[in-house]
Symmetry: C2
Subunit: 539 residues, 2 copies
């Protein structure tokens, strides 16, 4: 067979050649913009040419600090197709972590959204490798800034060569992109994605058996483009000529609902908090979201109540997914097999709430100290993953050895596998509650609480206990209508039917909101810190 | 990223692990057999183990001489997953070519269907490398044969180890399989498929945008398993846990129609002659074929009348495909893009009759001596192809240099490309008719003739002419009902409205049937030989 490398260049070339009229809808500060793939392709080549002129060389790291929009998409291809590496910097990192990742990756050029410039201005004096900044404004004029030298993105596009040739003779194992995990402790860890990995991941999510992303779709990645390649959706969408809707900065549930209705979005992806917010908006105002054929939810467990609402009330198929920064990210999806067609809606919702079946191309196992655990849906073990779009190391990081062993990635997620091979994540290893030598699943308790009609959000944490080692404590946010209507004993009673007594939280604390990480996951560390003295003699 | 190789082993392992209850329906001499993937997996491991015991070593070529059935499927995986190479010998080759390909490939073991044993017995004394024969009978007793030593397939299965470990640490570029082209002149040319090529091809045909082969499908490859991997369907179907229906030896249109109805086949593939036969059967007897969501047709151009009948009368989507032994084989498919939804049925049929849009992962171009021809749907050039499942050579064959140049496969097919990038094959380079310095497309004339209600089959050939160099001659088979009702002048009149006068065939000759190649394509060489003295002074 020919040794043709698997490269991102062929993905953009396919969109330019065969889908020149298909559109990318991009929301920025100045409104909605519509570009065809012919235009996106030309602008991508102009950008690649311009970046080369201002210093981009093969192997360089080029950072982006931006929302989901067409310019970010252009950078997604312009940088790797020039032989350089796109570093998507998470805009929600702390100043300390921002400085760390930009310096650690050795970013040479930073492409920054105008509204995010002030964040970079604050850390500019600590940046040791950045040689210049590009401001991604809608106009050629850029806002006044202390960043120097600073170029206008649109001016660069103007000056660039629309016929610039991508580099197409690279090895497919050439690095194309990188992201850092949003670590809750220590410095973020870098993961490098190769052209080969991204191409294979894109094939995997185009399979009819997985997301089936295709030309007929209208894809709206709500998951940020600075967060694990927006789950790979923008790459694959370009390849397949899929119309894309990029919701831009500071979107609200209302904006998302409007975009879905107006652009007839068929597939969208985001974390549970996004869909909880969208659901609230749908319940308050009237929208037609019937175009959606797949609402993909990942990053945290999907509450069954959320799934039920979308599946039952809005007839929107709800697909839970599992992945990490280390896995490109799609590992498994809660799609239903033909054998499950005859199940009841309630049984299907149980399956939809799992992290699902591993996608073709990867291997997964659930293991404990004795090897693979039985596929009984009950025995817990750590989920480990292997495959061509799974990282094999953290970038220049000694912590590589903690997670990568014997050719497998140890995810740190505790899971059970059922007889059909469907995986359910029960906990992060560090979120498990060890009470009296036994494990209590904080996620199981959270899901149960969140299935109560009065509960908006719930986080269950482990607090140190003098006798039992750890005990569960529940932090709950009630829906507005239920404030001061529902009390601790109501929820404890609600849980009692579902769990052994020793699993029940020692207290239910009502909060106004649950603190969240930069990507919308519950920040349990903050809660744990706050309540660690609950049993003061446990210190 | 991890350097996990793309191997066939993971495809069978996925079926065993996640789809143990899904079925392979296999028709053999003794009737219909049903095996689950659990059983197929176990039998495949037993076969791999048994073949290893009787001499299979890494890199060995193991030949199959068999119809489409479960044993052939087991060999499809047992041989490559043991590090050896499966050579699918075309059962319809001449004795001379059979001997050539088996010796040229250096097959060490031959797996033979019981009804095909006599063919191999006739050439056994010319086979220089075969060390033993395995007879794929339904019973452990094998028919009396002069082949020696001859093993019983089912006895080997009995003796094999059901827990045999596949070799999973191979380089992904390890050869997995090989086929020879059914050449019309000279010896057949061998093409070697690697694990990498087959895995990528399987991903490509699982994409929602291509065939979308998936777990929910019931796939019936009518295209023989000895013909370019049965278009890759058996490999991908195992990976995705797709139920398979393998129609076995000497099937008839009636058998196919019954299998479609009984097993609720959703996707099937074969050459036009198969579907012409099926259509005749459907018109004569009552069947429910509404389960079919994709009837894939390749190997030769699909007549528009055939497409219209399936699309209009039976509501069966008809997808033309293009590929060759050298291309694994899927290169392009006549799937419709979202922009084509608003077209009329007649316009869609025109697109369905093209060989379509190149699948993601490959590059194609249509070139003449000046480079790429314009995408105007009219300018003809040679179709050239590049990609990771395209051969880069003929196996140990000097003719490699004729077809493989500058990293591209020169297909020898003359094509036009339209503005949407859809390709239509107009002719084989050698089937073009050069009349007075201009090209006449024999395929265009054939398609026009076959769209006449009275015409069953039509082949147009070039015959030598003293003045014009070549002139077209049409060989036509009329449908039974039209015999002696339709005459030459009727068909010439029918063509006149559609072509310039100088394109019209010099004569229309009515035949009882068109001679065909081993895979059902028109054998124009025979016709050309027969009529080469038509203008005797042209000799």
């Amino acid at each position: 067979m020919m040794d043709t490398p698997l490269l991102l260049t062929s993905m953009m070339e396919r969109a330019e050649k065969y889908f020149p009229r298909k559109e990318v809808i991009s929301r920025t500060a100045s409104g909605i913009h519509r570009f065809t793939y012919k235009e996106i392709g030309e602008r991508t080549r102009r950008l690649a040419s311009a970046l080369t002129k201002i210093g981009l060389k093969k192997g360089d790291k080029i950072g982006t600090f931006a929302w989901n929009h067409h310019r970010h998409l252009e950078a997604y291809f312009a940088v790797p197709c020039s032989g350089a590496v796109l570093h998507m910097v998470n805009i929600r990192l702390t100043q300390e972590h921002l400085t760390y990742v930009i310096n650690h990756a050795e970013d040479k050029i930073l492409l920054i959204d105008p509204d995010l410039v002030p964040i970079i201005e604050k850390i500019k004096d600590q940046l040791t490798t950045v040689q210049c900044f590009v401001i991604m404004s809608d106009e050629k004029e850029i806002p006044e800034t202390t960043l120097h030298p600073a170029f206008s993105y649109e001016q660069l596009i103007d000056d660039g060569d629309p016929a610039f040739n991508f580099i197409s003779d690279m090895d497919e194992r050439t690095p194309a992109a990188m992201c850092y995990t949003s670590a809750t402790t220590g410095n973020p860890k870098g993961v490098v994605y190769t052209h080969r990995g991204i191409v294979l991941h894109s094939l995997a999510i185009g399979l009819a058996d997985t997301l089936g992303l295709c030309e007929r779709d209208v894809a709206m990645p709500v998951v940020p483009m600075f967060h694990v390649n927006a789950w790979g959706l923008p790459f694959a969408a370009v390849w397949y000529g899929t119309k894309q809707v990029l919701p831009g900065p500071s979107f609200t549930p209302k904006i998302l609902a409007e975009l879905i209705e107006q652009e007839k979005v068929t597939i969208t992806g985001g974390v549970p908090t996004i869909w909880i917010g969208l659901l609230k908006e749908l319940e308050e105002n009237q929208y037609d979201i019937s175009s959606i054929r797949a609402l993909v939810c990942g990053g945290a467990a999907s509450p069954k109540g959320l799934i039920r609402a979308f599946e039952e009330k809005y007839k929107v198929p709800f697909i839970s997914g599992y992945g990490m920064t280390e896995t490109s990210p799609i590992v498994s999806l809660s799609t239903l097999t033909s054998e499950m067609d005859s199940l009841s809606l309630e049984e299907k919702i149980v399956i939809r709430s799992k992290t699902g079946l591993v996608v073709p191309g990867l291997d997964i196992r659930v293991v404990n100290e004795n090897g693979d655990v039985p596929c009984d849906g009950a025995t817990m073990g750590e989920l480990i993953v292997r495959g061509p779009w799974i990282a094999n190391e953290y970038y220049k990081d000694e912590r590589t050895n903690d997670a990568f062993k014997d050719g497998w990635l140890y995810t740190g997620d505790i899971a059970v596998m059922d007889a059909d091979g469907y995986v359910r994540i029960t906990d992060r290893t560090k979120d498990l509650i060890k009470s009296g030598g036994e494990w209590i699943s904080s996620v199981a308790l959270e899901n149960a609480l969140m299935s109560h009609e009065a509960v908006y959000e719930a986080a269950v944490i482990a607090i140190p206990h003098p006798k039992w080692q750890e005990r569960p404590l529940a932090c709950v946010v009630l829906k507005d209508a239920y404030r001061n209507q529902i009390f601790e004993q109501d929820l404890i009673l609600f849980l009692k039917g579902q769990f052994s007594n020793w699993w029940l939280p020692d207290e239910i604390i009502f909060l106004k909101e649950i603190p969240k990480t930069s990507v919308g996951k519950f920040l349990k560390r903050t809660l744990r810190d706050q309540w660690k003295h609950y049993y003061s003699n446990a210190e």
